[in-house]
Symmetry: C2
Subunit: 434 residues, 2 copies
Amino acid sequence: MRPVKVGLLGLGVVGGGTWAVLTGNAEEIARRAGRRIEVVAAAVRDIEKARRLVGDAIAITSDGMALVRDPDIEIVVELIGGDTQAFEWVMEAIRQGKHVVTANKALLARHGNEIFAAAHAQGVMVAFEAAVAGGIPIVKAIREGLTANHIQWLAGIINGTTNFILSEMRVRGVSFEQALADAQRLGYAEADPTFDIEGVDAAHKLTLLASLAFGIPVQFDKAYIEGIANLAQEDIAHAERLGYRIKLLGITKRRPEGIELRVHPALIPAERLLANVEGAMNAVMISGDMVGATLYYGQGAGALPTASSVVADLVDMTRLLAADPEHRVPLLAFQPDAMADTPILAMAAVSSSYYLRLRVEDRPGVLADLARILADSGISIGSMFQEPHGENAADIIFLSHEALEGDIDRAIAKIQTLSFVKSKVTRLRVEHLS
Amino acid sequence: MRPVKVGLLGLGVVGGGTWAVLTGNAEEIARRAGRRIEVVAAAVRDIEKARRLVGDAIAITSDGMALVRDPDIEIVVELIGGDTQAFEWVMEAIRQGKHVVTANKALLARHGNEIFAAAHAQGVMVAFEAAVAGGIPIVKAIREGLTANHIQWLAGIINGTTNFILSEMRVRGVSFEQALADAQRLGYAEADPTFDIEGVDAAHKLTLLASLAFGIPVQFDKAYIEGIANLAQEDIAHAERLGYRIKLLGITKRRPEGIELRVHPALIPAERLLANVEGAMNAVMISGDMVGATLYYGQGAGALPTASSVVADLVDMTRLLAADPEHRVPLLAFQPDAMADTPILAMAAVSSSYYLRLRVEDRPGVLADLARILADSGISIGSMFQEPHGENAADIIFLSHEALEGDIDRAIAKIQTLSFVKSKVTRLRVEHLS
């Protein structure tokens, strides 16, 4: 069969990786796909730089719009990132009847519904394995591998930068600031790390995973997002002493009233596999009603792992290019006419266990007062320990049983008014993942 | 669209689970697949028992051959196990132009080449996600998710019974016999556990994984198989002290001279995720040249997890029933005309690190003599420790660097002739998985 003709938007880190995979493993890919996948053109900002990478083998342009309109190109691979120019070019590619592969989570989390609707109307495919968890085939696992299940929940370490920082804070005992500086020096964090450390990148990915798991539209604006910049070293140490590790998790859960959609640091039991995912690695745990818990682990970023997923999408597409749309897997795992409008729950309605830490005057009756407030709010305590701080103060740490976040927040507001409480109450969520 | 009509061979554990998944999650599955999947008939040994399970909803027969010839049935799901009757019925189903889903690793490991050739000739699909690692979508991950990669190696815990036994031996310090008895009492091991504890079941699965990873024919007869029945509690304890855990691994590796294909107990570093897979769970680690190492974890057996994979195959098939064969994923990941005849390596040519334990007389010069023999065989020692045993004897444990198995075996043969060596040398392989 004749080769499939692909146009690349972008030849940066992931674009260069995609070029390297498609050329380096051309034989092995053709052994599987049954035909070759050829990059015929690329649109880039720096034409000289692109020429040094790919030589004269393909057409290079600085005009992305011209590339997506090139009648010779069957699949457009969008790897420029961002959500303005990428959005324009992807929408035009779809209007031109081209299939699209993208690694752009920000684009899909913010404009996914529009893009998927346009693709459906035009009868083209949009694939995005590389947008979530890099080289891990997690989109395929949810969309196809677990298709027999009601997905109940999933929880993932889906941002390598923050996982690297949290690993460093735990293993080396350094502060957040120090760990971030190390991550930047080693290339695990960007010069402006805001999107990573504030949880925005993880929330982009989680939004897509929730759509795939539950058949709901992409709703990034309803995701709760809390990053790791305020995490204190002492909470990581306390967590460890209690048998937990702190990870930045993206969590989405189906509950009778709606769907939880949240990114935040969480204590997880140290014996769980997810707690043992260290450094810049990613992992996603998914629970289905039939299969139980499954877990998927690998590199969540980097040129070649991400390109591995881009090319897997290209091979899938290559097989189905000439097939009727009915033979394809639905873009968001569910048939377009079977999407649900299940509401996303407000955080006050979210259910979790909690870790609370506060500093108090060390005098009789303090614990009784605190326990009374928690009990009155319907919050039951699983364990507690106390650590002297100087002569007259102590730090108290509570681990609660499962409670509504609204209840815990009301209890904390009351505790905060007590005269013997000398600090802001630190509140972290605890996820048992079972 | 009209429902797809499925016939079940077998309504036992996995057959009953498949019935439960297809009926219990019918709505969710149809939301994804776009059409219903209906079981219209089942062939069983005990018709009364089957009627109690499924009522009068479907046709029940004791004649499997009649079922696979029923012109109304589009997909045959084989869940009876074994490789004689199952082989006959599956081959007849293929001759009848029916697609086949099976969970039967023994059947495919022993007759896979014949079955896949017949399916290719007839233009039908044969899917077997449930045959390896139960509910984990590992076939799909290799065949599609990692399709851009040269797979370099994979190593898996793919037998839950033996992993449960090894977990018990380590955590509770019991003997193999005690752990096996517990596993039988708890339903993790069968009354006749031979296939599991001798590694045959794991080798069946590994054989299939190797074909998917490397594009080679199914070659169960060339797999090296060593079970866990001879594992001593003291080796598990020594391993732990050295920072390792012992797991029964299925390992297959691409090397310049050929492919390693082997099932045996192995020491793996305790900090690896694979070392932390406990109880009856399964996990497979796969290394690709582009993606690096990825890992897949979940329940490897049980009615519902296995049925989850059976139904995932049914949904995939449902989409592609009316499509041209070119739109399908190749049965064994590679195009039939692109299969390789790479040889399977003999164990003497396999490369690994080794753990050696032996009892010696405790007198000067013993260690020097042992070290000399190892050095003369080209084996370099990574670490060693010695433990007194009574007044005049000591146990010596060596960990070697990577060596050829032929070299280590020649060295052991020499050591075994030394007059101060009081025991048979225990030799276990060490896998660093990196």
